[in-house]
């Protein structure tokens, strides 16, 4: 009998099959522009920042907290890191640390709002994102800073290794760290427990408030790092944050249906963000219009949540029966083909 994490269940890897489908379809439709290394490199580097922000959100979601301030946080920390260097108050390394510290501070405040003031995390971080946007106006005076002329600061993400920019490495480092934290430490178990059922966690001796607070702090910090990576990679901009928020949510939700179904998880989130990005990129090349990304990400978010919800319903009513080895039964793949067909639909229509 194959062990669970080795079986080829179509459901858990539907993202990979969707990715393959995108690659085939767009390669056929845009043979000149789509299937090129340039596309691969472009996607890898631009999506790395989005993925870092999504991973920040993921940590909060693990503990059952929505953090809708990740976009605003990334934007502020990125600009702060640039401004202090422009003004000459700091060199690159302290500026980066300051940016990350600003992200951490925002996370701490988010935690305070949620844990101490007992504001629902969605509302609390929504309010905080407006506060952060205001602080950003105070800091920048609403004037877009000129790009930095620092080869260290820009090179730290743009330097290419085998055609891939360094930012991809940072993403992998953060992803591996979070995977370790969430899957391989008691801290991860506690955060998942808090997210799974806060009352049951409390009655199991888990310090619910502490872990919710830590999760939000980590979320702010990682989003802050994402913001710094963004300005290093593409230069400062006044409003890049909001564009990172929706893909992050879509990726985390879609990711929760992948690899470890029913559980938001690091690798599922990464898979999801790149699948979505390939879809956006392909559509943009084929259709050549500006509204594709917004439309696709919005629909993908709804589809991902609908998919996660339907999985939850299915899972609650009856366990996935095709997993069990039935005596003389067919391969798990054939039986799994039916739910797979369903799960593809919403994505295709997007």
């Amino acid at each position: 009998m194959p062990r669970k994490h080795l079986d080829l269940g179509f459901d858990r890897f539907s993202g990979l099959y969707l990715l393959a489908l995108f690659l085939i379809v767009f390669s056929l439709l845009a043979p000149q522009t789509f299937p090129t290394m340039a596309t691969v490199h472009l996607l890898a580097s631009t999506q790395s920042v989005a993925a870092v922000v999504a991973l920040g959100l993921l940590v909060a979601m693990v503990a059952g907290q929505f953090d809708v301030s990740v976009g605003a946080t990334a934007n502020l920390t990125g600009l702060v890191a640039v401004m202090v260097q422009l003004h000459g108050t700091m060199s690159a390394v302290p500026a980066i640390l300051l940016g990350a510290a600003v992200g951490a501070l925002i996370g701490v405040v988010n935690g305070f709002v949620v844990v101490k003031l007992k504001v629902d995390s969605f509302i609390g971080t929504l309010g905080m994102s407006s506060v952060i946007a205001a602080v950003q106006v105070i800091v920048t005076n609403n004037e877009e800073p000129v790009p930095l002329d620092s080869s260290f600061f820009n090179g730290m993400t743009q330097h290419a290794v085998f055609g891939f920019q360094l930012v991809v490495i940072y993403l992998l480092v953060i992803a591996v760290f979070l995977w370790w934290l969430l899957e391989k430490t008691p801290a991860g178990r506690y955060m998942y427990a808090v997210g799974g059922n806060a009352e049951a966690a409390r009655l199991s001796g888990v310090r619910v408030d502490k872990w919710a607070w830590i999760a939000l702090t980590l979320s702010g910090t990682i989003a802050g790092i994402g913001g710094i990576l963004f300005v290093s990679l593409t230069g400062p901009a006044l409003a890049f944050g909001p564009s990172l928020l929706l893909p992050a949510f879509a990726a985390v939700f879609l990711g929760s249906t992948q690899l470890m179904p029913g559980k938001v998880n690091v690798w599922g989130t990464l898979l999801a963000i790149f699948v979505l990005a390939v879809g956006v990129q392909g559509l943009q090349l084929v259709a050549g219009v500006q509204w594709v990304a917004a439309m696709f990400n919005g629909l993908a978010l709804i589809a991902a949540v609908a998919l996660a919800a339907s999985r939850l319903r299915k899972g609650a009513r009856k366990p996935r029966r095709w997993r069990r080895s039935e005596p003389g039964g067919g391969s798990p793949v054939r039986d799994a083909a039916v739910p797979e067909a369903k799960s593809l639909e919403p994505n295709l229509s997007a």
Binding site: K4, E183, K184, T185, P186, G188, R189, Y190, Y192, A193, G196, N197, E199, A200, A201, R202, L203, S204, G205, V206, R207, G262, K263, L312, G315, A316, R317, K318, P319, R321
Partner: protein
């Protein structure tokens, strides 16, 4: 012969391969109050969900309401045919007024799309009055007492917006579960008067004495089979209990009772002094090592909150808790550190992580043993979980990595008990340890509870299940009005004595 108000014939239900309700027949005459008994997991809630249209039944059965065939499977059709429900959670929008809540189901009387308030109010007043309630339709439901809410729910169920829309059968799902004892008689009076108008009533309850005080006929479900359907005078209390429980539990009697008492090991493991919390007033409790102490009492007596107060899960006003002579700070974290385990009464809300796997549920309270050199060993955790799956006979055996929600109620409860057993607790607090559990799993849980007591733990079982307490406990404490009113020990721990003591201590002891 008159036409039956409700006639079920050959109705059944399976979930996957598991049959939860075997084909059965049940008939309720107009004006009849028909009590339905059954332990948790017996199929009673499935039956109600089938009638209310929530679950479609297996094909082949038939349901007639007032002689008219009803196609089950949709709430609207059930309502149209005259089936009315008072569910356990009542289903009110608490912030809305009585008037609005009454009209959500039946619709508001309108003219040109605007609500005709005077007319709605008038019909609402009438419905309340016919249920014997003196309440303002404009009052929010959140301002009502639990008893008033139940009354409004009954009034709503029988409220007729139009003559074609008359309730034929009223189904009540454990309406007294959350009701203070003194209000139960009011509800019964309301139901008797409804029945006198020709409505058939199906009354689901856990309280045996309600059967004798209220019902004309009684049916018992056990493990999905309708094992009894008779008029009330035909069957005595012992007969009912026998049908309810079946023979399986008898084998788990605690034989070592005398032996335990004669060893004279009266080290006090758990000592609770002057505990005041929720409705509990200065309760004292001492439990020795190896002892199993039961706590019984009607809802509202403090029984339902005493264990969570001892564990520190709910805030306490006064009182101390000592484990093996040492004081414990009142919060779950410190209680667990002191060797106290607490199994909450509701595994869905407080007990388990339904979406997380069984291994996480089993191991969450102590992950240290699996944490080596910066790495949480899933292999070690999985092995530990598998060990407890074996110990507790959890099915499916290979389900360690499956989400808790995919297990049956009994197996979920075993997993959650295992979570504490693996910590070798000094004190184990069990709140309704076998709620929603089938008979076989219940016996297994009882065996495990006895085993942990034999290993020297102090066990406290708070339960509404008298049979369970009589089976398991060395002593049983009866609570009333927030205090421990009676203590039964040794030979006095019998179902009859527990029931007598409970009801002697309550205003409910009017009938039987």
């Amino acid at each position: 012969m008159t036409i039956s108000a409700l006639r079920l014939d050959g109705l059944s239900k399976s979930f996957g391969a598991k049959t939860v309700l075997f084909p059965f027949e049940l008939e309720i005459q107009p004006g009849e109050i028909h009590a339905l008994l059954g332990q948790n997991g017996s199929g009673k809630s499935t039956l109600i969900k089938i009638l209310s249209g929530f679950h479609p039944p297996a094909p082949g059965g038939s349901c007639q309401v007032a002689g008219v065939e009803l196609e089950l499977g949709s709430p609207e059709a059930a309502h149209r045919s005259g089936l009315r429900f008072v569910h356990q959670d009542l289903g009110f929008v608490a912030s809305s007024t009585i008037l609005d809540n009454m009209s959500f189901g039946s619709g508001f009387p309108t003219r040109f799309g605007t609500i005709r308030r005077d007319r709605a109010e008038q019909s609402c007043r009438q419905a309340l009055k016919s249920a014997g309630l003196v309440l303002e339709p404009a009052a929010p439901v959140s301002a009502l007492t639990p008893a008033q809410r139940t009354g409004v729910a009954v009034a709503r169920a029988l409220h007729t917006a139009s003559p074609q829309d008359r309730g034929v059968v009223l189904v009540l799902d454990e309406p007294t579960a959350t009701l203070p004892t003194e209000e139960v008689e009011n509800l019964h009076a309301m139901l008797r008067s409804a029945a006198s108008t020709g409505v058939g009533i199906l009354y689901v309850t856990h309280h045996l004495d309600e059967v004798y005080r209220l019902a004309d006929r009684v049916s018992v479900l056990r493990d999905g089979h309708l094992v009894l359907s008779a008029t009330v005078p035909e069957v005595d209390r012992d007969g009912l209990v026998h049908h309810l429980i079946g023979g399986v539990l008898e084998s788990v009697r605690r034989d070592i009772k005398e032996a335990q008492q004669s060893t004279g090991d009266n080290r006090v493991m758990l000592s609770v002094g002057e505990l005041s919390a929720a409705s509990i007033v200065r309760a004292d409790l001492r439990v020795g090592a190896g002892e199993i102490v039961g706590i019984h009492g009607l809802t509202g007596s403090g029984r339902e909150s005493i264990l969570s107060a001892v564990f520190g899960a709910i805030p306490r006003r006064t009182g101390t808790v000592q484990v093996a002579g040492r004081s414990v700070e009142p919060n779950p974290h410190n209680s667990i550190a002191a060797g106290v385990g607490y199994l909450p009464p509701d595994r869905k809300t407080g007990g388990g992580f339904m979406t997380l796997d069984a291994e996480t549920n089993l191991t969450i309270a102590a992950l240290k043993p699996f944490w080596r050199r910066g790495w949480l060993s899933r292999r070690a955790a999985g092995a530990e979980a598998a060990h407890w799956f074996g110990q507790l006979q959890v099915r499916p055996v290979d389900g360690v990595r499956k989400p808790l929600a995919s297990f049956s109620g009994g197996n979920q409860q075993k997993v959650l008990l295992g979570k504490w057993l693996r910590l070798a607790p000094r004190v184990l607090l069990l709140d309704e340890p076998t709620q929603g559990v089938d008979v076989g799993a219940k016996a297994e849980l009882h065996r495990q509870i006895i085993k942990v007591a034999e290993s020297g733990a102090a066990v406290v079982v708070s339960s509404t299940d008298v049979e369970e307490l009589a089976t398991l406990c060395d002593r049983v404490l009866i609570m009333r009005d927030g205090v421990i009113a009676t203590e039964l020990a040794g030979d006095a721990v019998t179902e009859a004595r527990i029931n007598t003591a409970t009801h002697a201590a309550s205003t409910r002891n009017e009938g039987s």
